[in-house]
Symmetry: C2
Subunit: 180 residues, 2 copies
Amino acid sequence: MGQIDIRGVETAAQAVPRERFIEGMRQAATGVTVVTTDGPAGRQGATVSAMCSVSADPPSLLVCIYGPGRTARAIVENGAFCVNLLSEPQGLLAELFAGRTEAEPFAASSWTTLETGAPALDGAVAAFDCRLANRFEHGSHGVFVGSVVAVTVGRGLPLVYADRSFCRTQPLSAEAGTTR
Amino acid sequence: MGQIDIRGVETAAQAVPRERFIEGMRQAATGVTVVTTDGPAGRQGATVSAMCSVSADPPSLLVCIYGPGRTARAIVENGAFCVNLLSEPQGLLAELFAGRTEAEPFAASSWTTLETGAPALDGAVAAFDCRLANRFEHGSHGVFVGSVVAVTVGRGLPLVYADRSFCRTQPLSAEAGTTR
């Protein structure tokens, strides 16, 4: 954790302190997703904010999930997952799937399935049903790349997480956002 | 692009149409970053919204960048990049680094360097200076995983992109966001 004072030499000591990294990452607004899976390894789900589009050609995305967790292990065995992008009233689901309560999280909403059999959340602003296309481990997390085989698009406003709070987005005026 | 009607058979035809994928992804709010690099391959930069945290142990993140582009190629050669998370007044920089004008985008702001020599943007809400730790190609894009070696945290509100507009975030009330 000491000072960063050696340039050009790749050592573990050169990494920035984790608290500093987390402080910076708090500034990054993200959507909030519940990533689900079902199949031979059973049904699992987890709240994930580390999701992004990879490529539209072919349609693919990735999620970063805590490697030793049940959801990551089930995704590998099931070979599929669904990324459910939560809508504004679905903050409770994010807390349930983050394991902050004892409740059975799937019981708190209704679900359907699309192509892979992974649960797709009713009322999500979007759901991306994926076959697992690629994965690798990095530190504590697995990076799972999915080939998107079905998409639902719902109504409503997306739930956003920024600086440790649930938020909504509000468009800036053209002056503030696009012409300065 | 036809109907998705064959289950369990991995073929290119099974992917969802790209327009449908893009329509779903529009619902995902993201921060807006300018990813820069400098070194033997020269200075380059690109606007990137596909950024996420990978792991805090060790501190690492990833960005997805168009593979054949100059920035992706320079990152590989330079072995380093800096992810600059834009603040609300920096929408113009996002447009410049997205190549929507003829202007030389680096001239539109002032920059410093941290550890790797990649340009770190003055006035960013955060900048993450990274050594390239891992990468792979998927479709049109490269996924670049960086080990974070320095972080700056600035003041101001982050610029957010959602549904094709620059936005700000506004915290929901406790009732709407965390207790329902």
